[in-house]
Amino acid sequence: MKIKVLFFAQLREALGKEMLWLEVDAFCRTRDAADQAMREEPLMPYQNLPLRYAVNHEFQPADYVLREGDELALLSPVAGG
């Protein structure tokens, strides 16, 4: 199934884009989809960057089961405020 993966900050800069479509297995979990997305070559230097996951604008844990068309955001450490 296809999901949308969003990148921000240092990940977006390294990848050169904000979003890519990812083909994942049905019942794929957030961490597995993130691992797959993070295998893009420009993201190699960031393998140890701690990430939080959001699906359709809500934080979700690593074992959340994704559905077709979900928007998965890979959130590197935030610094708002």
Binding site: L6, F8, A9, Q10, R12, P50, L51, R52, A54, H57, E58, F59, P61, A62, A73, L75, S76, P77, V78, A79, G80, G81
Partner: protein, 143 residues
């Protein structure tokens, strides 16, 4: 509550809360000219806007319920900011001051933890860094 325009602080101070509110507390977060010993010249805020707005709304609701304050308003500016400019403004209004102060502090603490906004600092030597907010009452940064 997310804007790319300069924040009008006079307008924020002038806002009238509901008549039952005897206290208003404000927080203004500005761009500082230093970070961990380095001179900062400007910075860039990036934002995952739809999620940031949802999170800020949820934070305001949670803190209202927890503290009993009547009104919480938040605005966060994104894009390029210069030293001294206001990046975030929070106003809290309540019947009495104790809960207004407490709620104001809790809102900014929660924003720093849970809102998808990132900050890139540009330093005097032209290097730059995406800053992680690592200090959160001892709470771990990530799951």
């Amino acid at each position: 509550m997310i804007t790319d325009q300069p924040i009008d602080l006079n307008q924020w101070l002038a806002q009238q809360p509901a008549p039952g509110c005897g206290a208003s507390a404000f927080f203004v977060g500005r761009v500082r000219n230093h970070h961990q010993g380095k001179k900062v010249t400007r910075l860039f805020y990036e934002c995952y806007v739809p999620m940031a707005e949802k999170q800020i709304t949820a934070i305001a609701e949670t803190v209202k319920q927890k503290t009993g304050v009547q009104e919480i308003r938040v605005i966060h500016r994104v894009g390029w900011l210069e030293i001294g400019e206001a990046a975030v403004v929070i106003s809290v209004s309540s019947a009495h001051r104790q809960e207004a102060f407490a709620a104001c502090r809790e809102v900014i603490d929660r924003i720093k933890q849970d809102v998808p906004i990132w900050k890139k600092e540009i330093y005097q030597d032209l290097s730059h860094d995406w800053v992680a907010c690592t200090h959160h009452n001892g709470k771990a940064l990530h799951n």
